[in-house]
Amino acid sequence: MSDTESLSPSRNSDLEWQVAALQRQVFLLVLALVVVSATFVFYLFCESRFVSNDLATIQPQATQIIRTFSLNAQAIQNFRAQLVSYGTTHSGFQPILLKDGLVSPAMPPRQ
């Protein structure tokens, strides 16, 4: 006697009903996953557009500042070094160096 002959018609209909229910459930779950994924993609798209706009707005000004600094970096460094050197030989100038942060408070004054 084969296995298929042992299944009653009522059991067959139960199995068919369960299979159909599972198919519907899988369909609904995949549909929900598509909706969630689409929402996430929409959020990422909007966020990337906002950040891109911010970058386009800030980039010219920031590039100008960076370019100005890079052109004068050596002169600025030399000027600061000269002021610090002048402060080591003139104690009256050291409070100005401390105020402007060119030296740390731990720097001992040269006698």
Partner: protein, 86 residues
Amino acid sequence: MKFETLNGILTFVLGALIILSVCLAVRMVMLHHDLRMLQKQATQDQAIMMQTEQAFNDAAVYNQKNPSPELTRILQSMGPKRNANH
């Protein structure tokens, strides 16, 4: 059969959305990185330039009260570059 076709279509759409989300996430990470680096560099450079300008102004005021040829020479060396930046 109907559900199989629909599931196949939804699975394809889901795969496309996943690929799109990965691409957008990578793009957003790169944009955020560029924005942070640019802001950080510009802020640092501007702070140094402002600090140097403040030191120049304070040194000029000090030189008026306590004239010094050496300090005058130092200030004059920075003077033309400072005027060019303003």
